[in-house]
Symmetry: C2
Subunit: 623 residues, 2 copies
C-alpha cells in the first residue's frame, strides 16, 4: 500500500534558527516592547509570573506537544489526561495559585482535559452555599473526584426552559430523582464525561411538593470511585469526533431515575427543605450567573488567544515569504509589503488589541459586581449579562473570521496543520456555539437595547433616564446628523469615530424599535412582531457591540498618557480598528447621510495610509 509514510518533520534542520528576514524586522523599533508587554499583562509583576510559569511548562518534556498532529484521537486523549495530572502534581508541589493556573492553562493551549473540572468548581462557587463549597471544593481540587458540568441536552441548548431532564423531590427518602424522560433529554457535550468524570453538575427542572420550580443544579455521581464503572441507572459514553478538541472526551449521560441526596442540590439561591418546601432566595436570573461567569472568563481564556496566535504566525510568515516582484528589477518582495496582505492582517492585529482592552474592561466591571450578586444584589446583572453576551458573540464572530483570514493569508502553508493555523481556526470555531449561541446572545443584547432605548426616549428627563446603564448612556447623548470630517486626516480622531459609531448604533436601535412598534401597533402579536424584526435587531446589536469595542480601546489609550511611544503605535491600531469597521459597514454610515460618499473615500484614504504607517513603524519584536 504505497511507500511507508515519511514525515517532512524528520529532516527538520531549520527550527531554532531565526530567519534573517525576521531578524531584520525585529531590529526596527519605535517603542519599548517590554513596557507594552507589561501593559498587556497588567503589570510587570504579572509578566514575570507568567514567564516563570511558561518556562516551567515549555521546558518540561511531559508537556511536549511535538507529536500532537500525528496522534490518533485516543492518543490525544491519553496524552491530555497525563498532562492534566502532571499539572495537578506540579500545582501541589509548586503551590501555583489560581491566577498562575490561568497562565498554565494558556501555556498548555488548552491541551488538557481538566478545563471543565475547573468549570465545575466555578459553578459550585457561584451556585453553592458556603457549606457545599466547603464539602466539594477540596475533593475537586485534589482530584479525588473528577467533575463536569452537564446542561445542554441532545435536543435542547440555548432555551433553558426547554430542558427536559427532571429532578423530582421524594420527601420520603429526602432524595431527588434525576431522570432523562426521552432520548432528546440526554445530556450532550459535557467535557470530561465521555471517559473521565466521576461526578456531573446536572441542570434539571425541579419538581417538589408537586410544583415545577424551574432549572436547578444537582451534583450527580456518574462513575464508581472504586472501579470507574458507570453507576446504576446511568448510561454514559463519548459523543464522537468533533471539529477539534480531540483531547477532550465530550460525553453523553442518560439518567434513569438516579437518586441523589437532598444536599446535592446547590442552594445558594434556592433550597428544598426536608418536607419539600421550596425556598427561593434569588431571582429567575440567578441560575444564569454561572453562565455569565463563564462568558467573561472565556473572552481572554479561550476566544482571543487563537486570534492573537494566528496574527503572530501569519505576520511572521509574511515577512519571510517572498512572492512576485513589486518592480521588475527588484528581488521578490516580502508579502507583507503588498497592500492586500496588509489589508488582510493589520485589521486582525488591531482587533486583537481592541478585544484585549475590551475584555479587560468587562473583566473589571465583572469583578466590581460579582460579589454584590453573590450577596443577592442583582441590580447590575442585566447590564453585565448584556455586556458579556454581546462581547462574547462579537469576539467569537470576529476571532473565528480573523483566525481564518490569517490562515488564508498564508496560502497553501496555512492549510498544513504544521503551520498551527488550521487547529487555531477549528478550535475557536466552537466559540460561536458554546456558552450561548451567538445569534441568541446578540438578540438578548438587542432586547436590552430596545428596553434601554425606550427608557431613554419615552420619558425624557425622568429618573429612569438618568439611571441608564453606562454602556448605553450614548443613547441619550446629543446626536450629530452629519459627520464634520473635511479631509482624510480628520478621521484619525477617537472622538470623531467613536461619535460616528454611537450615531450609527443609535440610528439602528431606533430603526429596530420603530419596526417593532409599527408591527405591534398595526395589531401584530408581539412575539410574531419580534421574530419578524430580528434581522434588524441583529444589525443594531452588532453595531452597538462594535461601538463598545472602539470606545473601550480609545479609553484604554487615554490612560497611556505617560507612555507616548506606546500610545502612538496603539493609537494607529485603534484608528485602524474603527475605520476598518466603518468601511466594511459603510452602508450603515451612508444610509441617513451621516457620512457622504466623499467622506467614505476620505476614511478609506486614511485607512490605506494607516496600513503603510503600521507596516513602516510597528516593530516586529512585539508580535
Amino acid at each position: 500500500m504505497g511507500s511507508p509514510m515519511r514525515r517532512v518533520s524528520q529532516e527538520d534542520t531549520w527550527s531554532g534558527q531565526v530567519h534573517p528576514d525576521i531578524a531584520s524586522e525585529r531590529h526596527v523599533q519605535s517603542f519599548d516592547v517590554e513596557r507594552l508587554t507589561n501593559i498587556l499583562d497588567r503589570g510587570a509583576q504579572n509578566t514575570a509570573r507568567r514567564r516563570k510559569v511558561e518556562s516551567i511548562i515549555h521546558s518540561d518534556p511531559e508537556f511536549s506537544c511535538k507529536d500532537n498532529y500525528f496522534m490518533t484521537h485516543n492518543e490525544r486523549y491519553e496524552a491530555a489526561v497525563k498532562k492534566a495530572f502532571h499539572t495537578q502534581m506540579l500545582t501541589q508541589s509548586l503551590g501555583w495559585s489560581e491566577e498562575e493556573l490561568v497562565y498554565v492553562y494558556r501555556a498548555l493551549s488548552g491541551d488538557t482535559v481538566l478545563g471543565v473540572h475547573t468549570g465545575f468548581l466555578k459553578a459550585l462557587r457561584s451556585l453553592g452555599s458556603e457549606e457545599q463549597i466547603a464539602k466539594w471544593e477540596p475533593l475537586c481540587k485534589t482530584c479525588r473526584i473528577i467533575a463536569t458540568y452537564a446542561q445542554t441536552e441532545l435536543g435542547h441548548g440555548t432555551y433553558l426552559q426547554g430542558l427536559e431532564t427532571e429532578a423530582t423531590y421524594d420527601a420520603t427518602t429526602q432524595e431527588f430523582v434525576i431522570h432523562s424522560p426521552t432520548i432528546t433529554a440526554t445530556k450532550w457535550w459535557p467535557g470530561n464525561l465521555g471517559r473521565s468524570a466521576t461526578h456531573a453538575l446536572v441542570l434539571a427542572q425541579l419538581t417538589c411538593s408537586g410544583a415545577r420550580r424551574g432549572m436547578h443544579a444537582f451534583i450527580v455521581p456518574i462513575r464508581s470511585l472504586q472501579d470507574h464503572t458507570p453507576l446504576p441507572g446511568i448510561t454514559v459514553g463519548d459523543i464522537g469526533p468533533k471539529m477539534n478538541f480531540d483531547e477532550l472526551d465530550n460525553g453523553f449521560p442518560r439518567l434513569d431515575h438516579v437518586r441523589v441526596p437532598r444536599e446535592n442540590m446547590l442552594n445558594r439561591f434556592a433550597q428544598v427543605l426536608s418536607d419539600g418546601t421550596y425556598i427561593k432566595r434569588g431571582t429567575e436570573q440567578s441560575n444564569y450567573l454561572f453562565m455569565v461567569v463563564t462568558r467573561v472568563e472565556i473572552l481572554l481564556g479561550e476566544i482571543l488567544p487563537p486570534l492573537q496566535k494566528a496574527c503572530v504566525i501569519a505576520m511572521r510568515y509574511s515577512v519571510i515569504r517572498r512572492q512576485s516582484r513589486l518592480r521588475p528589477s527588484d528581488p521578490e518582495a516580502k508579502i507583507l509589503d503588498y497592500q492586500t496582505q496588509q489589508h488582510k492582517l493589520f485589521p486582525q492585529l488591531a482587533m486583537s488589541y481592541a478585544f484585549h482592552f475590551l475584555a479587560i474592561s468587562i473583566l473589571e466591571f465583572f469583578q466590581r459586581s460579582y460579589n454584590a450578586i453573590l450577596d443577592r444584589d442583582f441590580s447590575l446583572l442585566p447590564e453585565l449579562h448584556a455586556l458579556s453576551s454581546g462581547t462574547k458573540a462579537m469576539m467569537a464572530d470576529f476571532c473565528i473570521q480573523g483566525a481564518e483570514t490569517c490562515r488564508r493569508a498564508c496560502g497553501g502553508h496555512g492549510y498544513s496543520k504544521l503551520s498551527g493555523l488550521p487547529s487555531l481556526v477549528t478550535r475557536v470555531s466552537a466559540a460561536s456555539s458554546y456558552e450561548g449561541e451567538n445569534t441568541v446572545l446578540y438578540l438578548q443584547v438587542a432586547r436590552f437595547l430596545v428596553k434601554s432605548y425606550l427608557q431613554a426616549h419615552m420619558s425624557p428627563g425622568s429618573t429612569s433616564q438618568r439611571f441608564l446603564p453606562s454602556s448605553v448612556a450614548y443613547l441619550t447623548a446629543p446626536d450629530l446628523s452629519r459627520c464634520p470630517a473635511q479631509r482624510a486626516a480628520d478621521f484619525l480622531c477617537p472622538e470623531l469615530y467613536t461619535t460616528a459609531w454611537a450615531h450609527v448604533a443609535t440610528r439602528l436601535i431606533k430603526d429596530s424599535v420603530y419596526h417593532l412598534q409599527t408591527r405591534t401597533q398595526s395589531g401584530q402579536d408581539q412575539h410574531e412582531a419580534w421574530n419578524q424584526t430580528t434581522v434588524t435587531h441583529l444589525q443594531a446589536a452588532k453595531a452597538h457591540c462594535y461601538y463598545t469595542s472602539v470606545k473601550s480601546f480609545s479609553e484604554a489609550l487615554q490612560k497611556l498618557e505617560n507612555e507616548p511611544a506606546i500610545q502612538q503605535v496603539l493609537k494607529r491600531l485603534c484608528h485602524l480598528h474603527a475605520l476598518h469597521g466603518i468601511l466594511v459597514n459603510s452602508g450603515d454610515f451612508l444610509h441617513d447621510g451621516f457620512l457622504s460618499g466623499v467622506q467614505v473615500d476620505m476614511a478609506r484614504t486614511a485607512y490605506l495610509d494607516l496600513l503603510l504607517l503600521i507596516r513602516g513603524t510597528l516593530p516586529m519584536r512585539n508580535i
Copy 2:
C-alpha cells in the same frame, strides 16, 4: 486511563427512518421536483445516468465511508487507495465513460486518491503532442503508472516565474537534467506523491543552448515500477497532516540532477530539437492553459458540492430541531421558522443555485473555446482566464463562508464531525488557495477589467470598443445615475437589480482606474501605483464577479419559460441572491446616491418578504 471509548454511533436506532417533521415538509410542493432535478442535471438522461452510478457506489460495501471519522490518517489513506483501485476495476468492467466518472467522483465525495492522477491526464492532453498523449494516456488509464502534477514549490506558488526547479538540456545525451537547486525549490503539495505516485509532471524553468526559455512541463519518473523505491537522485515523502484530505498523500520531491529523455518534455506548444534548438508554437499563456482547464472543472467538481451538501444538512436539521417558542402558548418552534435562521440559510441556498448556473455557463464557454486554443487560436484565452479566475475566487470565498454559515446554523451539532459539516467546511477551505490563490486571481480579473475599461472609454466608437469581450460589455452600456425603484416590490425584477449591479461594478472599476491613473500621472512608478491601489481593485473585481453571478442566474431563468412553476421558485432565489448582495454591500450602492437610504430599506423589506415566501412555498423535497 478513563473508561474505554464508547461510541455514540454504537446504539444508532434512528437512521433510515424519516423524521415526521421532514416528512410533513416534503408533503408540500408547488412544482415538479423531478423536473427541477433534470434541469440541474442538464437533461433527464443525465439524471438517469447519475442515479445509476450513484446506486452502484452507494450499495457497494467497498465504498462504505461509515468509519471515516474514526480512522487514523494512515487508515484513511489505505482505505482511499483501495477505493481508487476498486473504482478502476469497476470502470473497466462496467465501461464507465469519462462523463460517468465525474458522477463516480462526486458520489465518492472525493474520498479517493486518484483525482490528481486524472489531473495529470488532463495536463497531458492540454500540453502534450498527439504522440505523447498516445504513449502516456494508456499507461495512466490502466494504472500501470500512477502520476501526479508537481508545480508549486515550498517557497513559490502563484508567481510561476519565481519557480526555481531547473530543466537544463544536455544535447550530448539528449536528456533534460531536472534539479531542485535549493530547499525552497522542493516541489510541495503534489497529491498522490507522498506515497503512491510513480511519475510526476514537473514544471521547471527550461534552459537550452544556454538560454532560459521559461516554464515547461516534464514527465519525471519518481519511483521504481519494480519495487516502488524512490529512483536515484530523488528524495520524496509526505508533507504531513492538513486541515482535511487525510486520504490524500500530498508529497514533496527533491530532485538532484535527475535525467529524463528529451521526449519527456510536453511539446504541444514548444519543443527542443535534438541539437538544443528551441521551437515555440504557443504564446506565453499557453503554459497556463492547464490551469484554466482545472479552474473550470473544480467549480462544479470540488467547490460547489460542499455548499450544496451543507445547505441540505442545515435545512433538514432546521426543520427537525425545535427550540424556544414563537408564542408562549405554542410548542417549541422549528428553528427554520425563525427569521434569523432563514436569513442564515436561504441566501446560501440561493447562492448554490446562482453558482450552479454560473458554473454551467462558464463550462459552456470553455467548451466552445478549448478546441480553438488547442489549435493555437488564443483570442478567447484572456476572457476565459478572467472569467474562470474570478469565478473560482468568488465561488471559493462564498462556498467556504456559506458552508461555515450552514455549520454554525446547526449550533453545537454542527461542530460534531458526525453532522458531516466540519469536514465539508475544512475541505472546501482549501479552495481559497489551490489552483490560484484567491486574492491573486481577483487581481488578475482586475487587470482585465482595467484594460477593458480603458479600451471601452479611451477611444469611444472605435473598433476595439466594439470587440469588448461579452462579459464586460456592460462597461459601455448607458448608465442610470439613480435607481428607479419606488417601492419594495420594484426590487423583485431581474432587470432592475442586474442593472444596479452593473452600475456599481462600473463605478468601482472607474474608481480604481482613476486612482491608478492619478498616482501614475503624479509621477509614481506604475508598479508601486498598482500595489497602492490593489484594495480598490479587489473591491471592483468582486463587484464584477457578483454582477456576473446575478446576470447568469437571471439569464438561466429566462430559458425556463416553459416551466412556469420551477421558474417561479427559482426566481425567488435569484431575487434573494441579488438583494442579499445589495444589502451586504449597501455602501457601494449608496456611495454615489444610486440608491437612497429609503430604497435600501425597500430592498430590505423585499428581502425579508422573500424569506417568508421561500419558507412558505419552497418544498423540501428538492433540497
